[in-house]
């Protein structure tokens, strides 16, 4: 299935892109992060991140569907 992934901040720099469409068999955001972490030099572990699917916070075990938009959220620092 195809997923749309957007990257922000440190992860955008480490992925070298702000978004991509990916053909993947990853069933969950957790699986997807594992796949991407083997491709890009991410320094943050999954435990340090949150994840959003279709612009809402999500569980790592949510079942992904084709066309979903996934964003990994590094530790935030507003203010």
């Amino acid at each position: 299935m195809k997923l749309n992934i957007q990257y922000y901040a440190l992860m955008r720099e480490q992925a070298g892109r702000s978004q991509e469409t990916l053909e993947t068999s990853a069933a969950t955001p957790a699986d997807l992060y594992g796949e991407l972490a083997s491709r890009y030099p991410f320094t943050l572990s999954r435990e340090q991140l949150k994840v959003a699917v279709n612009s809402e916070f999500s569980d790592w075990s949510r079942k992904l569907e084709s066309g979903d938009a996934v964003v990994f959220i590094p530790p935030v620092a507003g203010g």
Binding site: Y8, A9, L44, V76, G78, G79
Partner: protein, 148 residues
């Protein structure tokens, strides 16, 4: 909207006017400024970046939470995004209420929650030429200097 972003200077006078209420006896505001140092490093400028779609939702939920928890009249938060220099205003929170106590409490609640919950990131640029994403670099599994 009660939580919003701006890519240029925050108009605090206009923001304050949005809080006016004839039943309010006063208002409290908080301004977050870009300072010239952080954790032993000399900072020269900052870049703020947000996942705006989710940030607007989460920021809106924080304001709604504040209005439920505290008996205040109005509350508003404006966060700036982009490249900021020293002394620039990065975030503004304002709350109007009948009495001052709940305005102080709600204002503190909003800025604390925004810092913890809203997907906004801050990159510091240092005098040394180095730079780093706040809360992301030191907690990284593999420190940058250890990478080949």
């Amino acid at each position: 909207m009660r939580f919003r972003f701006t890519h240029s200077a925050i108009d605090t006078a206009a923001a304050r006017r949005e809080l006016e209420h004839l039943g309010a006896g006063g208002y409290v505001s908080f301004e977050g400024w870009v300072r010239d140092h952080n954790e032993g490093q000399e900072v020269t400028r900052l870049e703020y970046e947000a996942f705006e779609e989710l940030a607007l939702k989460e920021g809106g939920r924080i304001i709604a939470d504040a209005l439920r928890r505290f008996p205040v009249k109005h509350a508003l938060c404006v966060h700036r995004i982009g490249s900021l220099g020293l002394g620039d205003l990065a975030v503004w929170v304002g709350v109007s209420s009948t009495h001052r106590g709940e305005a102080f409490d709600a204002c503190r609640f909003i800025i604390d929650e925004v810092k913890h919950r809203v997907p906004i990131w801050k990159k510091e640029h240092y005098r040394s030429g180095d730079s780093g994403w706040v809360n992301c670099e030191r907690c990284a599994v593999v420190p940058h200097h250890a990478q080949p």
